[in-house]
């Protein structure tokens, strides 16, 4: 059953890769990359159980935590053209 799950995961990886390669706009590619990351998390987790080495879950956990940062970075870069942006909007609507 784990084998079937692995095959399904790999098929969906391939399909998501297609969108990342084809994607007409940057957002399409980014969406595909994000989804690909999520599927990779699943791949690593399932493979860990497939080979009965739950050490692999640490790697999946890293991806689950860090994948987000890459997406946000790409979005931010695409909106401003650079990474750093001032903080005039940091006026305390959340902080206070």
């Amino acid at each position: 059953m784990l084998t079937a799950a692995l095959v399904a995961i790999m098929v969906s990886m391939l399909i998501a890769l297609w969108r990342a390669l084809a994607g007409p706009s940057v957002y399409d590619r980014l969406l595909a990359v994000n989804t690909f990351g999520t599927i990779t998390v699943l791949f690593i987790a399932v493979y860990g159980f497939f080979t009965e080495r739950p050490d692999f879950l640490d790697i999946a956990l890293v991806y689950a935590l860090i994948n987000f940062t890459g997406t946000i970075a790409v979005l931010k870069f695409f909106e401003y053209g650079d990474m750093g942006y001032g903080r005039e909007t940091e006026t305390g609507e959340v902080e206070s």
Partner: protein, 190 residues
């Protein structure tokens, strides 16, 4: 059999992504495709049982490397400057080198073969005795930090030197960098 199918699938995706990275002109898209490349790499390392390498690939490839590539793009340009021309000599060289490398792989022992040279010399001792010597179950950590301590010290010095280099290049002379940017812009619009 299952392993073979999985490895084949991962390597196919790796090759497709690599070709796409070469073909795509928008460096911004390339940065994202490199993210996918690193994800597939990490999956592949996982199938090879190299947990620590996969972990490094996961930590570096998913976060830091995309970030640094993007911030480099912010300083430079988004588009590849020129379309690469077709160069038959270069193609021939690359194909020949590739064939030589493929030929060289025939001498490599199969994955996990006990008679391969790696397992004949000191590797065996590390695997068997490092836990008693260092009291640490993870052999990779004990080899990196203890048996190969000099190497790791050198690597750390390299990272530190890279940091110092970035500080020297970008830390002080911000004005000069801004001037370069302006020049670039004016050249682009004219």
């Amino acid at each position: 059999m299952d392993d073979a199918i999985i490895n084949l699938g991962l390597l196919t995706m790796l090759a497709i992504t690599a070709l796409a990275v070469i073909r795509v002109q928008d460096l911004f898209a390339v940065a994202m495709l490199m993210g996918i490349f690193s994800l597939i790499c990490a999956g592949f390392f996982v199938t090879l049982d190299a947990v620590d390498v996969a972990f490094t690939e996961a930590a570096v490839g998913a976060g830091i490397s995309t970030l640094l590539v993007l911030s480099t793009l912010a300083i430079t340009k988004r588009e590849q400057s020129s379309r690469p021309r077709f160069r038959p000599v270069a193609l021939l060289t690359v194909v020949l080198t590739g064939l030589l490398l493929v030929y060289a792989t025939w001498d490599i022992h199969p994955y996990g073969d006990m008679s391969s040279p790696v397992h004949q010399h000191i590797g065996k001792r590390y695997l068997q005795e490092s836990s008693e010597h260092t009291g640490i179950p993870n052999v990779v950590t004990s080899v990196l930090a203890s048996y190969r301590g000099y190497d790791t010290m050198g690597e750390l010095t390299v990272i530190f030197t890279a940091g110092v280099g970035v500080i020297l290049l970008l830390g002080r002379s911000r004005k000069a960098a801004v001037n370069v940017d302006d020049e670039d812009d004016s050249r682009g619009t004219s």
